[in-house]
């Protein structure tokens, strides 16, 4: 266990050095490479946008299996690429995933749910309000704005929750828990690293046969992860919950909050696709396109989510190796993450009141 932990952080170290080296190269050969990169991103977005308008126009001119397929495929690729661009959703999700320990699987579900919800909200706001209340898109602006405000308020709320958890974790409220909590998290982290290296073996072994010792290690890790209460009642003095326990108890609410804070803000690209499809008399193709975009987005966002979960492990393991106290480090990250979300939510909220001229002011 000691050995695997040490070698694991050695590889984290190597990986970090590789990336920092790359960063230094980019910095040295500097501005031009960077602006080329920006230009490349912009060209890509322009190209995919052009593809989308072409495909939907062709479908409007002559609906066929081939043109429908082109719409779906083009939209999917647009989603994948477009999601690589900015978006408050990605900042929220990656900040949250960096700030709290999570399982990879859960982070993927969250990404997928948020992306699909974004599609549903776009359809509901553009088509729902049109077909039910007869409002044209221009008139739905107020609804979109309020949906956004709700989303941004939730961003700030999640920031507050993260900070609250960090404060509890630091033991700034309820000193008694502090000592116990420290020890607890420490052992947890060790178990974590342990499971990491074994998991790997497990994968290999799985293809062949179930080695007894390995399934045991695996089960042990799982038990440790989920049976936090069991472990602690053995310790016998857990009167104040640890940050992670607080985290798990309120987790599903936070997760729903995250999903809605992302999903309630329809992507402008999807809204425009729906308006175009409606105007061209092919509303169903618009819905198809939007959900293809959502699926594409889900893939990119999931990738980012997985990397965020792993990056957290990396950071904690590196810092733990250097200074110990994984628990304090985790709480520190949560504190910073919470502050980032509150600032982001506040900044975004302001833009809904003081919007620059968009869409020619229409």
């Amino acid at each position: 266990m000691q050995v695997s932990s040490a070698s694991s952080s050695r590889y984290y170290m190597l990986g970090l050095i590789a990336v920092v080296g790359l960063g230094v190269l980019v910095y040295l050969f500097g501005g031009s490479a960077y602006s080329q990169f920006i230009g490349w991103v912009y060209d890509g977005q322009k190209m995919f946008h052009g593809e989308m308008t072409d495909n939907l126009s062709k479908f409007a001119d002559s609906a066929s299996g081939a043109t429908a397929w082109a719409v779906v495929l083009g939209s999917f690729l647009y989603g994948v690429f477009h999601a690589a661009g900015p978006g408050h959703g990605k900042v929220i999700l990656s900040t949250y995933l960096l700030a709290q320990p999570h399982e990879v699987k859960k982070s993927v579900y969250m990404s997928a749910a948020a992306s699909i919800l974004q599609g549903i909200v776009a359809v509901a706001l553009v088509y729902g309000l049109f077909y039910v209340f007869g409002l044209v898109t221009k008139e739905t602006k107020a609804a979109v704005t309020w949906s956004e405000r709700l989303a941004f308020a939730m961003v700030m709320g999640i920031g507050v929750i993260l900070i609250w958890r960090a404060i509890k974790g630091f033991g700034w409220v309820g000193k008694k828990a502090h000592a116990h909590h420290d020890a607890h998290a420490h052992s947890h982290d060790h178990g974590h690293t342990h499971s990491h290296s074994h998991n790997h073996n497990h994968d290999h072994g799985h293809k062949h046969e179930h080695a007894h010792s390995h399934s045991h290690a695996h089960a042990h890790d799982h038990g440790h992860h989920h049976d936090e209460n069991g472990v602690c009642s053995t310790c016998g003095h857990a009167h104040v919950p640890s940050a992670e326990q607080v985290g798990q108890a309120t987790d599903w609410r936070t997760i729903v909050g995250i999903i809605f804070s992302i999903g309630l803000r329809p992507c402008s690209g999807a809204v425009l696709v729906l308006v175009f499809a409606k105007f061209a008399g092919i509303p169903f193709a618009g819905v198809m396109s939007v959900f293809a975009i959502s699926i594409g987005t889900a893939i990119t966002v999931s990738t980012l989510a997985i990397l965020s979960v792993q990056a957290r492990k990396l950071a904690v393991s590196l810092l733990d190796g250097a200074v110990g106290k994984a628990d304090a480090i985790g709480n520190g990250i949560a504190l910073v993450g919470g502050a980032v979300l509150i600032l982001l939510g506040y900044g975004l909220m302001q833009t809904t009141f003081d919007a620059p001229i968009r869409s020619m002011g229409l």
Binding site: G23, Y42, L56, R358, S359, M360
Partner: protein
């Protein structure tokens, strides 16, 4: 058996770990990239600018022709589609043009002017015409100068861009972007390609503002046109 298997493939598993950890570090750095890396326009305009000279060889106005992308065109026209027949009639596109001009007057029709000394002052625009062609809305309008501008001896530079870069505005390709009308001989124009690197440093301070847009992100993508007469 399993341990033997892994031990016999140490390089493969080391590589895997190295790759994974590199990716993880990359994510962190990636997240720290300034938002300029994510130029993010949602609407596109293709422009043709007609620079109109008077008989004294002075510039009196710009005549803009803007063609919007299909998505924005549908959005714009839908709002004026009073009879809701899904078609864009002449009165409807004209109404869109009038509304746009009213809305963007306060930002000088996205126009920036530069020259030695005092730059010309833009006054209220006049609508010229509008059409819907191939699902694209095309609007034409005049942007007059308060007083005619003499180009002799000093170049006039202009750019038309959305600072927020929500709308990407580009000149038409293949030398069609600018037309000098009634210009004296020896007058010419030149379109400079955008130079993002100059503004890059400003973006570094704009982390986390990706959705609000960097105040001057559009500037880095602006096409500056220089008009000179010898």
């Amino acid at each position: 058996m399993q341990d033997g298997l892994t031990r016999s493939l140490p390089i493969a598993s080391d590589m895997k770990r190295l790759i994974r950890n590199t990716l993880c570090s990359a994510t962190v750095l990636f997240a720290l990239l300034p938002s300029s890396a994510w130029a993010h326009p949602h609407e596109f305009v293709t422009m043709q600018v007609r620079v109109v000279f008077n008989d004294e060889g002075q510039i009196t106005k710009f005549r803009y022709n803007w063609v919007f992308d299909e998505f924005f065109s549908a959005y714009a026209v839908e709002g004026q589609d009073k009879n809701a027949n899904g078609k864009a009639e002449q009165e409807e596109t004209d109404a869109v043009l009038a509304e746009i001009l009213g809305n963007i007057q306060k930002i000088q029709y996205f126009t920036k002017l530069e020259t030695e000394g005092l730059a010309p002052v833009i006054v209220k625009a006049k609508a010229v015409g509008s059409t819907m062609l191939d699902r694209k809305l095309s609007i034409t309008y005049d942007v007059p100068f308060k007083s005619a501008f003499d180009v002799k001896g000093r170049a006039l530079k202009y750019a038309v861009y959305d600072p927020e870069f929500y709308i990407a505005m580009e000149h038409k390709d293949a030398g069609q972007g600018v037309i000098l009308e009634n210009a004296p001989k020896n007058c010419s124009w030149e379109l400079g390609e955008p130079t993002p690197s100059e503004e890059i440093e400003e973006f570094a301070s704009s982390l986390g503002r990706e959705d609000t847009g960097t105040p001057d992100l559009g500037a880095s993508f602006a096409e500056w046109v220089s008009i000179t007469c010898k």
